[in-house]
């Protein structure tokens, strides 16, 4: 029998039981829709995580005080990370382009009657390029080398902090109090967007000299940020930094490091893995509903075969072979799952577009669901596969009916 004729018969029988067919398809529609939507959301979340990490500064190495113990937990708090370490690295490791020290602590920051708790970071002029956290054009300037060397009480603030303290007022030239000490606001950084675990826009950046001597009273650093040259080998840079650091800290061979060097690429990689895992988890839940949909198809096909026992008998009497009936009922199941798959893909795409529309009007959603072709294709293939898999048993039952019994069936 020609494939087209079989398909026509299949669609006719679906159309004859519109409500029943639609309800049967619903499982596949929801399943495919969920797979497409979940994969879109998962990919979107993963991409946004990666982008956020890259936004923290590409080619960034972070040297932290204290060694990395079991499972990456810092077991000891060392206070020997010095500005000289950074200078030595900059001098001896050719892969490193720039270095920025950081001392940080959380303080209550006040402007007139408003106050907010903010992370105060003390660093050098290189902080802004190294951390990819530049001052917004037209909203002041970063501090200068001179201001750093003179322990100037100047501050660059994040846009969130600016809004918290100054609302709509221009903060440039105003004086804020950090732990009771006056600082003049000279610049506001560009908006980077909330990253979930911390907000890079809620920050006050001051010269590290001022931070060490006047605010925090310490001479060691919290972190040392290193920018690796474009195109340089990240791994090699890490190894060289390690060598210089061990020598600076006079660590005997065989003794553990009292510092740790972390690579943003590593973090990006592990976050990407988490993102992939999340997508897989969401999708597998969606796939379960596809299987439930398949069981629905199997159920309705068994009903159909019973209902049409007589038709099967007549077709056999007219010369249909077992494989003709097998393919007829199999195609009917596939027609249901295929139609369901098409409607489900439309539902999934609609969900993604709807979500992105919602996200555009809602600034607290920082990621967009991603619309790719391959989850749609995959969901389609799976839908057809489910039609074949769950349609097989009922179709085989139809094909194996005894023609005499089938003709006699009332």
């Amino acid at each position: 029998m020609f494939l087209w004729t079989v398909f026509k018969v299949a669609f006719k029988s679906i159309w004859a039981n519109k409500m029943r067919s639609f309800l049967t398809m619903l499982g596949v529609i929801i399943g495919v829709g969920a797979v497409v939507a979940m994969m879109g959301l998962g990919t979107g979340i993963r991409e946004s995580i990666i982008q956020n990490v890259r936004g923290m500064g590409a080619n960034l190495l972070t040297v932290r005080a204290g060694s990395r113990g079991f499972g990456g937990v810092r077991s000891t708090t060392q206070q020997n990370l010095k500005i000289e370490d950074g200078e030595a690295i900059l001098r001896e490791v050719p892969e490193i382009q720039m270095a920025a020290p950081e001392v940080s602590n959380s303080y209550q920051v006040k402007y007139l009657n408003k106050n907010t708790r903010v992370t105060v970071r003390g660093s050098s002029v290189t902080y802004f390029p190294v951390r990819n956290n530049e001052v917004e054009k037209g909203r002041g300037r970063p501090f200068t080398e001179t201001e750093v060397s003179r322990n100037a009480r100047v501050a660059v603030i994040g846009p969130t902090t600016a809004t918290d303290l100054f609302v709509a007022q221009d903060p440039i030239g105003e004086t804020i109090k950090i732990a009771g000490i006056n600082f003049m606001v000279i610049g506001v950084t560009k908006l980077k967007g909330d990253q979930g675990w911390y907000n890079p826009d809620d920050v006050v950046i001051i010269p590290y000299t001022t931070a060490m001597s006047q605010l925090m009273g310490r001479d060691n650093l919290s972190n040392l940020y290193l920018q690796v040259k474009e195109g340089a080998d990240m791994q090699e840079a890490v190894e060289k930094v390690n060598v210089v650091m061990r020598r600076q800290h006079r660590i005997q061979a065989g003794n553990p490091d009292d510092f740790s060097v972390s690579n943003l690429q590593e973090i990006a990689d592990s976050l990407e893995m988490v993102g992939n895992l999340l997508t897989a988890l969401l999708s597998s839940v969606a796939f379960i509903s596809l299987i439930v949909g398949g069981i629905g198809i199997m159920n309705i096909m068994l009903v159909t075969v019973t209902e049409r026992t007589r038709e099967i008998g007549v077709r056999k009497a007219l010369g249909a072979r077992n494989r003709d009936l097998l393919s007829q009922f199999l195609l009917e199941a596939v027609a249901i799952s295929l139609t369901g798959g098409a409607l489900g893909a439309a539902l999934g795409v609609g969900t993604i577009l709807g979500f992105n529309r919602l996200a555009t009007s809602n600034p607290s959603i920082t990621f967009r669901a991603q619309l790719d072709a391959w989850p749609i294709i995959l969901a389609f293939v799976v839908a057809v596969g489910i039609g074949i898999f769950f349609g097989w048993y009922p179709a085989r039952k139809a094909a194996r009916l005894d023609p005499i019994d089938a003709l006699r069936y009332e």
Partner: protein, 230 residues
């Protein structure tokens, strides 16, 4: 010329709850091309079993069955399907047209299974032969009983079978429509179509040129009769 049908010593034994039942017990006869034969018998006489075997829906327990010169009694399932498609045209008591398909599409079904082309043209010609060319687009539920049976006969004829096998073809029709169907059978008989009509209706049987009477799985009478045109 070879026989249209030749059965020799046909037996069919069913096992029913430990007991064996001889539905057919050594049946032997042959039918020549162009004959119009009635197979008669009360219920339980074995005529349904004989019809199923002649129609290649069932296989005999023992014995030979030659249809159009080939021994089909040991054919496999697929080969039997092919024989049903090419050599046998079924007409049922309750028409058995497929619902939601037009008369023309119903008549096309056997051609689709035989895989030969030109289904629509052949089906239209068959409908014309039974006088229903103007109802080709109607679905079964838009046709009267007599018209449905005509469509079924067109469907049985469309592949030019060796035999047309009718099971109580007038059983579900009123007397007048039943006569019209018999008239059509006579026309086909005149065109040398081999007709086998299974019936318990004596009026139908008397119109055939030969009667084979079955009782308890055996042929008790096989007579040529002077066909009476109603």
């Amino acid at each position: 010329m070879s026989h249209a049908i030749e059965v020799r010593n046909l037996t069919k034994i069913y096992a029913m709850g430990g007991e064996t039942v001889h539905a057919l017990d050594g049946v032997t006869f042959s039918i020549e091309p162009g004959e119009m034969v009635a197979i008669i018998g009360s219920s339980g006489s074995g005529k349904s079993t004989l019809m199923n075997i002649i129609g290649c829906l069932d296989r005999p327990t023992s014995g030979e069955y030659h249809l159009d010169g080939q021994d089909v009694s040991r054919f496999s399932g697929n080969a039997l399907a092919r024989v049903r498609n090419r050599n046998i045209g079924f007409v049922f008591q309750n028409f058995n047209l497929l619902p939601r398909m037009s008369a023309l599409e119903n008549v096309e079904v056997p051609i689709l299974y035989s895989g030969t082309g030109g289904a629509a043209k052949l089906a239209r010609a068959a409908l014309e032969r039974v006088g229903l060319a103007d109802r080709a687009g109607h679905e079964p539920n838009q046709l009267s009983g007599g018209q449905r049976q005509r469509v079924a006969i067109a469907r049985a004829l469309v592949n030019n079978p060796t035999i047309l096998l009718a099971d109580e073809p007038t059983g579900n029709l009123d007397t007048r429509t039943g006569r019209e169907i018999m008239k059509l059978f006579h026309e086909l008989h005149a065109e040398k179509v081999t007709l086998i009509i299974v019936t318990h209706d004596t009026e139908v049987a008397e119109q055939c040129s030969r009667n084979i009477v079955l009782r308890d799985g055996k042929i008790i009478e096989d007579k040529q009769i002077q066909a009476q045109m109603p």
